[in-house]
């Protein structure tokens, strides 16, 4: 059997693969590798700089990436794209920042596209420019074409964001060995160094995303037990707070600020934030385009009160991850800090307070993720065979839309990947020959509150009575956390498959706080679910009744009976829109009772035609089969 031949790590001797790990960050990106001596190297540019600012500037005759683009940001804010990671896998409606960012965004639904001198560019294109720059840097350092790369993504990235990242790597001409969660990568870099064993939390606050992962480390195995986070929260938000504060100082009339001024204030804010990790206070002096020089002094205490709620926002995901893992803070063996924003003293203090122990900060928060990715790349390329194994999880539940706009979860959050789940669904209407399948991601009960990932249609189901067809929907999530879905009608073998590509159309709030919202509305959800179910039940009742009457079943009822049925039906119809679940249920039951005798007579008639059944709906179904 073919399978037996391929042994793990089996390679021709001597041929060392050129493999790198890439941390594609919101603010900065890095590329790292492991050399033949087993040393970890973060690769630098010709000036010796290891960070590459994740900034891309589009010009009439080319593209600038990194430091030069960053330096030009305030000169050319319209064509210089920063923090593009926040737009990855997102539709126009999904990104709250779009409203206040300077870029010109192309009209239309769906994907965000920036209007640049080089033409329309998507976030995938912009990210690909950053990846291309890192690829060139690595190829120069390693002396040849790369055999493969591990690229990191926030643990809390959803399907659409992961897909977009993979697309960007393809555009940049990189062979992806694996998409790896950032906190898992950091844990590898940290854990392998120290031979750490036990249960660790990785608190990763980057430029634009926040992740918390709880991992079990033992003998080269890094097993993620639970992960959580906020894909729209990071150091950028601290910068914005400071910039907003600066814009309120005397001398800066907010309305008169140009895009260049805003870019300059953001830059000043970032510098001030970084300085305040070392200093107690910092002076800001920023010349504005109006000629006024904005002067201000910001203290660490002021910064902390401006951003206290942002720090608090990170703790809710931490609590959820611990609860999903079934652990208390005291049960952990350590807490590792990753991400540039964890340099802020107020973040360190909050983490120490929450976990009741000082966090481990002896790992470089900027470089840990790239190094961990490089170690994994080295393993996957077959350069090392020390048995390093990473078992990661899926961060958000995956499900399907069912009747009444409800989301049925198939794969639950924090399931170890790869994972597959199958579930049978059936047709709702008689003679239904197609079933539309809507794949969603999120924790809420209602589809409209989850992220829509894909829609596809299973066609060619043979005409059968409602509830007879058996459609088995299978979700397969691979080791990159990417989903593929197949649907198959069991009796006929009709099949449809789809690789998930994002479908857009949700509002920003729904996505930004999907999980958070899930909790705030936990109670509301239960009621809305009950209401949706009651409505589906009522609609079913109507369908059955109308169908029966349409085909002349009315002659089986006398006038008084018909009146009673119609008045019950009217009462139900009146409640359908604005009634409460309990009212709709009661009215549905009343209508059902009013049709009991009528249904019994229909049944007798049907039996005489050698049919069998008990309910109006089933009778109609049988009629159609004839």
């Amino acid at each position: 059997m073919l399978f037996e031949i391929a042994e793990p790590g089996g390679r021709q001797p001597g041929a060392r693969r050129r493999a790198v790990g890439i941390d594609l960050g919101t603010t900065n990106s890095l590329v790292a590798t492991i050399n033949s001596a087993g040393e970890r190297l973060v690769l630098a540019d010709e000036s010796g700089r290891r960070l590459l600012p994740s900034v891309v500037r589009y010009l009439d005759d080319g593209v600038e990436v990194g430091w030069r683009a960053k330096a030009a940001h305030f000169l050319d804010p319209l064509n210089t794209i920063v923090s593009v990671k926040r737009f990855m896998g997102r539709g126009r409606a999904d990104v709250p920042e779009l409203a206040r960012c300077a870029y010109r965004i192309a009209e239309g639904d769906g994907l965000v596209r920036f209007e640049t001198p080089a033409g329309l560019r998507s976030p995938v294109d912009v990210s690909a420019e950053i990846l291309r720059a890192l690829r060139e840097r690595a190829e120069n350092a390693l002396g040849g074409e790369l055999d493969g790369a591990v690229i990191t993504v926030p643990a809390y990235f959803d399907e659409a964001q992961r897909e977009a990242t993979r697309d960007a790597a393809r555009v940049a001409g990189l062979k992806i060995l694996r998409l790896l969660s950032e906190p898992t990568a950091a844990a590898v870099a940290y854990g392998l160094d120290r031979g750490a064993a036990g249960i660790y939390a990785v608190y990763d606050l980057g430029g634009g995303t926040f992740d918390i992962s709880i991992l079990k480390l033992s003998r080269g195995i890094f097993e993620v037990i639970a992960t959580n986070g906020n894909a729209q929260l990071g150091g950028d938000d601290f910068d914005s707070r400071i910039a907003e504060w600066l814009a309120r100082r005397p001398g800066a009339v907010a309305g008169a600020l140009t895009p260049s001024d805003r870019a300059a204030l953001l830059n000043a804010a970032r510098c001030a934030k970084e300085a305040l990790s070392e200093e107690r206070k910092v002076r800001v002096s920023e010349p504005l385009s109006s000629g006024v020089v904005l002067e201000a002094t910001l203290t660490r205490e002021q910064l902390e009160s401006l951003t206290a709620d942002l720090v608090d926002l990170t703790l809710a995901p931490v609590r959820r991850a611990l609860r999903d893992a079934g652990l208390t803070p005291a049960a952990l063996d350590g807490v590792v800090l990753v991400g540039g924003a964890t340099r802020m003293p107020q973040v360190r203090r909050a983490v120490a307070e929450f976990f009741g122990r000082p966090p481990l900060t002896d790992i470089d928060p900027d470089e840990a993720v790239a190094i961990g990715a490089a170690i994994q790349a080295d393993t996957l390329a077959g350069n090392r065979s020390d048995g390093l194994l990473l078992l990661d999880v899926i961060p958000l539940s995956l499900g399907l839309e069912t009747m009444g706009g409800l989301a049925e979860k198939l794969v639950h959050r924090n399931s170890t990947i790869p994972v597959a789940r199958a579930q049978d669904f059936t047709t709702f209407k008689d003679g239904q020959t197609a079933m539309s399948i809507h794949v969603v991601q999120g924790e809420r009960d209602l589809v409209s509150d989850c992220r829509s990932l894909a829609r596809f249609e299973l066609q060619g189901i043979p005409s059968m009575a409602a509830g007879v067809a058996r459609v088995r929907v299978t979700f397969q999530v691979d080791a990159d956390g990417l989903l593929s879905v197949t649907a198959r009608e069991q009796t006929t073998g009709v099949e449809a498959a789809v690789t998930v590509k994002p479908s857009y159309g949700l509002t920003d709030e729904e996505i930004a706080g999907m999980l958070r919202a899930s909790l705030e509305n936990a109670r509301d959800d239960v009621e809305r679910r009950a209401l949706a179910e009651a409505r589906v039940e009522a609609e079913r009742m109507f369908e059955g009744l109308e169908g029966a009457l349409k085909r002349g079943a009315g002659e089986f009822a006398d006038q008084a009976e018909r009146d009673r049925i119609f008045s019950c039906a009217a009462a139900l119809r009146g409640l359908l829109e604005h009634g409460e679940a309990s009212q709709i249920r009661a009215a549905t039951q009343a209508l059902n009772r009013s049709t009991e005798e009528f249904a019994a007579r229909l049944m007798d008639a049907a039996l005489q035609q050698a049919l069998s059944g008990r309910h109006v709906e089933q009778l109609i179904a049988m009629d159609r089969k004839d």
């Binding site: 073919l2 399978f3 033992s218 703790l315 609860r323 077959g382 080791a479 705030e520």
Partner: protein, 185 residues
């Protein structure tokens, strides 16, 4: 470690065979963890990243199977359900006798006390602890019914009772989360 040299036999194996465990409710969880790691070490898709399409596809299937087996056996309720379906499919599928009234009363009490504690994180944690304590009694009972007396009818009822506790626990978790969110805002 694995004697399952033939991958086809892995995909065909039931979860107890997969992890070399006796078909019983009481299992050695440490051994399960150890064998899980060993199996993933051998079959995880990462071990086949340089292999051909067929092998990679196969590794994905096998690794997925190992994960579902581990998940099923790691938790007592899913393990009991799975075991019942293996040894007494007819019992678990058909047994729909009503639950004892005393049990249902207790469930209502628990639910009421949860409702009364809405918003009170400490009280909800105490209820969760109570739930855990009570369901342990049923689990011990279940081990006896499945492994010793082999009373599958009784075991099926016990599994359904534990299902009630499981759903209460989930609801308690949701209520704790909701309460924490409100405090955080």
């Amino acid at each position: 470690m694995t004697q399952l040299a033939n991958p086809a036999s892995i995909l065909g194996a039931d979860y107890f065979e997969l992890f070399h465990l006796p078909r019983a409710f009481a299992i050695d969880l440490q051994r399960l963890d150890r064998d899980y790691h060993a199996l993933q070490h051998r079959f995880h898709p990462d071990r086949f990243s340089g292999a051909g399409e067929f092998d990679r596809r196969r590794a994905l299937e096998i690794s997925t199977h190992i994960n579902s087996g581990y998940l099923t056996l790691r938790h007592s309720l899913s393990r009991a359900r799975y075991l019942l379906a293996l040894v007494a499919a007819a019992v678990s599928a058909e047994n729909r006798t009503p639950m004892p009234p005393a049990f249902l009363m207790r469930q209502m009490e628990l639910r009421e006390s949860m409702e009364a504690s809405r918003g009170n994180v400490a009280a909800l944690h105490r209820i969760k602890e109570q739930l855990r304590h009570e369901s342990l009694t049923y689990e011990r009972n279940l081990a006896r019914l499945l492994d010793d007396t082999r009373d599958f009818e009784g075991a099926a009822e016990c599994v359904r009772m534990l299902g009630f506790y499981d759903s209460l626990r989930r609801d308690a978790d949701r209520m704790i989360e909701a309460a924490e969110e409100i405090h955080a805002v």
